[in-house]
């Protein structure tokens, strides 16, 4: 059981490249933290500095309030699951799992007992004598997990452990990892570039970009209140639509000339970015009444992607260069070329300033006219 504390953690490589610009993060005991971000954002570097595979340039890393900056990976009491599993090819499954324990001088009987118990937990009992090459991808993945679990470490580190698996297996292993982590209650840090994986696994999510933490919070908090435009675009699939808007008093002027009642307190003429998720653009049927509180956008459908339960429509809105992505019901009859009337609710809008930071806005409710 362990807590993990990162204070102003910085990593600068010998060639001068700064991979981490002072990362602060506190991981609670038993928590599963998922670090997510595009490739090259420093998430793997961060994990590797936690593991001790990369040195820390400045800042402090503590596990259970013990400074571990200078400790070797083996002395940090962590276990890591690698993307390509990194199983020892010449060792049996049993030996793969036992190797770390052997090196620590755990007595033979203990090793056997612990490996067998872990194998039981992961359903690997029948495979203990096999070599890694005789196993399927999913089985190797489980052995890699087993190798981590059997050590009973303070912290688990996962480096994109599911990205080498096919889609179906990935979902299955995702659930398995979640189940095991809850059961073993081991503090975990999980790195992935797959935002679905991130959303579903995380107790708390850390979104990284260019060596900095953009935002940290529960998956739903990040989904509902992204702190920056980057987070807004990264969390959620398909990605959020962004529209350039101009402040006009207590209203915003949309690219197509329409207006939306949303008070920002900024002076008129300020240019902002309005974000709205594809699932929050509501397609109105003919005759549906609209309220003052929102704006209606007209957009011509250029392409349709039926996904079954939902249909994604890529639609052209006047005054906007990019296509608007709209998530419609699977049964929606929109065809290519048809015009959608989309209701934009102020409650569902996110505003970002020119520094890409979130701006809190107040939507005026039509009934009272007061700021909410």
């Amino acid at each position: 059981m362990a807590t993990l504390q990162l204070s102003a953690l910085q990593k600068r490589y010998a060639n001068g490249f700064v991979a981490l610009h002072g990362v602060d993060l506190a991981v609670e005991d038993g928590e599963l933290i998922v670090i997510v971000g595009p490739s090259g954002c420093g998430k793997s570097t961060l994990l590797r500095t936690l593991a001790g595979l990369e040195s820390i340039t400045s800042g402090e890393l503590t596990i259970n309030e013990r400074r571990v900056n200078e400790l070797e990976p083996a002395e940090r009491d962590i276990a890591m699951v690698f993307q390509n599993y990194a199983l020892y090819p010449h060792m049996s499954v049993f030996d793969n799992m036992a190797y770390g324990l052997k090196n620590r001088g755990v007595p033979k009987d203990d090793i056997r007992r612990r490996v067998n118990a872990t194998a039981e937990l992961l359903d690997l009992g029948a495979l203990l004598d096999r070599r890694p090459r005789q196993l399927s991808g999913g089985q190797r993945q489980r052995v890699a997990m087993g190798r981590a679990i059997v050590r009973e470490p303070q912290v688990f580190l996962f480096d994109e452990p599911l990205s080498n698996l096919d889609a179906k297996l990935r979902v299955q292993m995702r659930l398995e990892i979640r189940r095991l982590q809850k059961r073993l209650k081991v503090t975990s840090v999980y790195v992935t570039h797959d935002q679905t994986e991130a959303m579903t696994l995380a107790d708390r999510l850390v979104v990284m970009n260019a060596g900095r933490v953009e935002q940290c919070g529960t998956p739903m908090a990040l989904y509902e209140r992204p702190a920056t435009r980057f987070v807004a675009g990264f969390i959620g699939s398909p990605a959020m639509n962004f529209l350039p808007v101009t402040v006009h008093g207590e209203r915003l002027r949309l690219p197509d000339g329409g207006e939306l009642a949303l008070a920002t307190g900024l002076e008129s003429g300020s240019e902002l970015t309005l974000g709205v998720r594809p699932e929050h653009l509501v397609a109105l049927d003919e005759g549906d009444a609209t309220t003052d509180a929102g704006a209606v956008i007209r957009a011509t459908v250029e392409m349709i992607e039926p996904l079954g339960a939902d249909t994604l429509a890529y639609a052209r809105m006047e005054g906007l260069d990019e296509l608007l992505v709209v998530r419609l019901h699977g049964e929606h009859a929109a065809g290519e070329g048809s015009v959608l009337r989309l209701w934009l609710s102020p409650e569902r809008c996110h505003l970002f300033g020119d520094d890409d930071r979130r701006i809190e806005a107040h939507h005026a409710t039509p009934v009272t006219g007061a700021r909410g």
Binding site: A51, G52, L53, E72, P73, A74, I78, A79, M80, F82, Q83, N84, A86, L87, Y88, P89, H90, Y99, G100, N103, R104, R147
Partner: protein, 281 residues
């Protein structure tokens, strides 16, 4: 590759058979010659079939000091064996560590070290033989096993081969071992050595034969018959001055000299091929 052409099959087999025959013929001639008595050999043309003096010829060579050499063939074989094994094992041990250092450790001038080793590929024994002789003489290693082995013990070829193999080992494997608490020596012993055992076997075969076949160097530094190697002795047997060349002894010694390398190949053939064509991962 297989083509559905019986004629092609037949022709290739025929060609193979002829090739084998050509290579085998001298060995066969040497073998038959070694089983005749000296008078037989000088009275007739080269015999194509075995004679009746085989056992006595070999027994004499093994038990009694050979004329002109001052030692028996068993001693020669033992000397060759010590030298070949010393060179093979030494080369592998040194290359293994050198390649390990070059691939897995970051130290200043790492690249330079690698290229320095690599350049020595261009400097075989023959090129540096005078300074090497000087050094070995100064160290009083003439006529000794270390003198036979040490100057030949470094190998750029083996270092390069092992380096290429080590480079194919995924870095995550090294990291996983670090997290599992394996220090550098333990990683070498538990992970790297088992993974490179087929490469090592292949290198052993090549280096053993290289060591066994050394001629110029042992010829230069051994004057004492106690350190004479079997390959060098063959030439000595031929220089008899006015006396007749004892062909039955020469050929029998040659047959015996062929034994150990052939045995090494037969025993390690499986690993040898595996080590050269595939990397186990």
């Amino acid at each position: 590759m297989r083509y559905q052409r019986p004629g092609l099959d037949l022709a290739s087999h025929l060609l193979l058979a002829v090739g084998c025959g050509l290579f085998f013929l001298p060995v066969w001639l040497a073998f038959t010659a070694s089983t005749h008595s000296m008078s037989d050999l000088y009275a007739n043309v080269a015999p194509l079939w075995v004679g009746d003096a085989g056992l006595s010829n070999y027994a004499r060579l093994i038990h009694d000091p050979v004329g002109g050499l001052g030692t028996d063939v068993l001693r020669l074989l033992a000397n060759s064996m010590v030298m070949a094994l010393g060179i093979a094992v030494g080369k592998i041990a040194i290359s293994l560590l050198a390649a390990y250092a070059i691939v897995f450790f970051r130290f200043p001038l790492r690249r330079l070290c690698f290229w320095l080793i690599f350049i020595t590929l261009m400097l075989p024994v023959e090129v540096r033989i005078l300074p090497t002789y000087e050094v070995v003489a100064d160290l009083h290693l003439l006529d000794s096993y270390p003198g036979l082995i040490l100057p030949l013990i470094a190998s750029a070829t083996a270092t390069f081969l092992l380096r290429q193999f080590y480079l194919t080992i995924p870095p995550e494997l090294v990291e996983a071992a670090r997290i599992d608490g394996a220090g550098p020596w333990r990683f070498l012993r538990d992970i790297l050595l088992p993974l490179s055992k087929t490469n090592i076997a292949a290198l052993f075969v090549i280096m053993f034969i290289y060591g066994w076949n050394q001629y110029l160097w042992p010829l230069l530094i051994t004057t004492n018959a106690d350190y004479l190697t079997v390959v060098v002795s063959l030439k000595r047997l031929l220089t008899t001055g006015d006396a007749l060349v004892p062909w039955q002894d020469v050929t029998a010694t040659a047959m015996l000299a062929m034994g150990p390398p052939v045995l090494v190949i037969l025993l390690m053939q499986r690993y040898f091929v595996k080590g050269l064509v595939e990397t186990e991962k």
